[in-house]
Symmetry: C2
Subunit: 395 residues, 2 copies
């Protein structure tokens, strides 16, 4: 076989991520590669740390991107904070809580599962019950924004409960960071990880993380070595830590970090509060359109993520055929359901750069047209008008 | 603090990697992001696998890039092939053998170290002695091309010895792949990992790996789960495996894979044999220039990597001052020594796209000028002429 250069189609990315990438970020990505110990690069790394502190709303010194995707950020949190024999309470209300369980068990610890229905927030009462039933638990882990369902949990309350029972916390903010408030210091989150390719609108491949003092103390006091060399924060910090001297650990993904830097500069320019408001605003219009079609958002109001909308698939409609038509005819990607929601929902993302009026109207028009052509039982021809009316009424 | 867009200086990268990236690769990197389950992307992944099979000279089905830097590729090999209680023979002749030891121990196994001097190849006799002394060892790991010293070991012989004693093999080909022959099938290597940023001249951040049938069988027959979720090949293969249906594992670094695809297309266009010959050719000229200055290559002939030249620092010369002057005045990066060779050698890379006549002449001229200005005891003013003469004599 002989291969030629690959030229991807130009898509509109309204799935669960990657989301549309700002052209400024793509341009930054392609700047000339320099060495990972170059003083110019080290200076940029320092800026990335400060920009990430802003995104996470924290002063945590240990705030940096892991050189791998979000699932490696998750694993970095678990392998550093969990020791063999530990008991960890994991709240599961979707796919990613299940992945946390895997991480706990592979670190030699026991996972106590707190189960909530997929599509609902984590119930603080259930967490409290589990904390009371397991006074020897040392850690609580939960997903702030469940990417598999679009449910938003009350991180502040969950962290508070964990702390009242002497547990540290690991929070999955992969889909929340940049789309809804994530306040690491105010909420006293101990360890948190996110991904570059959701509301930060950077390319996929990096996982921003942040660790507070209590987490660092636990890491320093470990009796078992961290099972991963690549993810051992004691080693990673030699490269990402402060001070002029950076010790070589691994070769940083230099160009990907240019891109993250640019994405974070863009976030800083807009301002966090404005970014959060923008996500809520366009979500309002998308919701108006979806509901005008007669479709439902499966997550109850008050627990819904604005940036990831789980829409129930109308009866008799074939999931894959609809997504296939959107992709081939409209170059539009929306997400399928995962796990027990596969075939039952679509996940429509409005993340970061992709969260704008053009995308909302484009997606609603395309979905309306494709569903109508397939003879689906929807209120055809109303979605776009409803969204436009919503924009008109909400300035 | 408020940050602006970062514009890196334009460097010539002649250190141990990252090496100069072909502009075609940077351009590919910045192409529009698409979904990691997009059919167009899945098609490209299949091409990447075939192109990597060519680079590794293998038909191994499980040949793919790990979504993280080379040290994660190393860890992927160890956590999948090593089980708690195993005995692993690790040959150490530089920094990266030491990192292998770390990986073995963190996987709960015992590392039997075979030590060779830094700057020398692994001695097959010492490996054979260790294999005889430890008949219960199950795995042999060694570095084909030691990035910290520029020494090339005889992979074929070492693998043969390991097999004769019933051991599988893990081979570090981070710096060798694309620069010198790496023949996975012919040499019967069981597991191998490399990096994107050396002789493949791609951006840093990916780690190509390949696993043969014996390695897969050992992984399938594990009694302990793989300790890493992110690196568990059973899961990774659900995404990178063959067949139309790709299961979501983690979000692939989409744009980085565009870049790797392009870098591999470029390698295919040139042809492996021609790439190997090109590295040897320009190494000859660099060597002529270095020796004309009166400097020494620390690795004996026959064990030298053409793509990474460890040059002894002349007495009385301050390592950091020279590298600083090359960087600030010439925008030229060469590498420092690592570990016990820190301050004693420079590492001059001629890797992939950076391996060309322009770079050889530029580097020799710059080094000659900087050392002369510092009053170093070298034969000044001869290096460039010697290299030019070498090119003249060798066509």
């Amino acid at each position: 076989m002989s291969s030629n250069s690959f030229h991807p189609p130009v898509r509109t990315l309204m799935g669960p991520g990657p989301s549309d990438v700002n052209p400024r970020v793509l341009e930054a990505l392609s700047r000339p590669t320099i060495g990972h110990l170059d003083p110019a690069f080290v200076g940029m790394m320092d800026e990335v740390k400060v920009l990430l502190q802003y995104a996470f709303q924290t002063r945590n010194e240990l705030t940096m991107p892991v050189s791998a995707p979000g699932s490696a950020g998750m694993e970095t949190c678990f392998v550093n904070l969990v020791q063999p024999g530990d008991k960890v309470i994991v709240c599961r209300n979707g796919v990613f809580g299940g992945r946390m369980k895997e991480n706990v068990e592979r670190a030699g610890a026991t996972a106590i599962m707190v189960e909530d229905p997929w599509g609902r927030a984590v119930d603080p009462q259930k967490l409290e019950d589990a904390l009371k039933a397991h006074p020897d638990a040392s850690l609580v882990a939960f997903v702030h924004a469940e990417t598999s369902t679009g449910a938003l949990s009350d991180a502040e309350t969950l962290v508070k409960l964990a702390h009242e029972h002497g547990c540290l916390t690991i929070v999955d903010a992969v889909t929340s960071l940049g789309g809804v408030p994530v306040k690491v210091d105010e909420w006293e989150i101990d360890a948190i990880y996110s991904g570059s390719q959701k509301c930060l609108s950077c390319v996929p491949g990096l996982s921003p993380v942040s660790f507070g003092e209590a987490a660092l103390e636990r890491i320093r006091n470990r009796t078992h070595p961290v099972q991963s060399w690549f993810m051992d924060l004691n080693l990673v910090m030699g490269y990402w830590g402060s001070g002029a001297k950076r010790a070589y650990h691994h070769t940083a993904p230099v160009n990907a970090l240019y891109a993250l830097h640019e994405a974070l500069v863009i976030l800083q320019e807009e301002g966090m509060e404005k970014a959060w408001a923008r996500h809520m605003y366009h979500h309002g219009a998308l919701r108006a359109g979806v509901e005008a079609m007669g479709l439902e958002l499966i997550v109850p109001e008050g627990e819904r993520l604005p940036q990831l909308n789980a829409v129930s698939i109308p009866e008799g409609v074939e999931d894959a055929a609809v997504r296939g038509a959107l992709l081939s005819e409209y170059n539009l990607e929306i997400g399928a359901g995962l796990g027990e929601l596969a075939g039952k929902i679509w996940r429509i993302g409005l993340m970061g750069f992709a969260c704008n009026r053009t995308n909302v109207l484009y997606c609603l028009g395309a979905l309306d047209a494709v569903l109508t052509a397939m003879g689906a039982k929807i209120d055809s021809g109303r979605a776009v008008a409803a969204a436009r009316a919503w924009y008109g009424a909400n300035g």
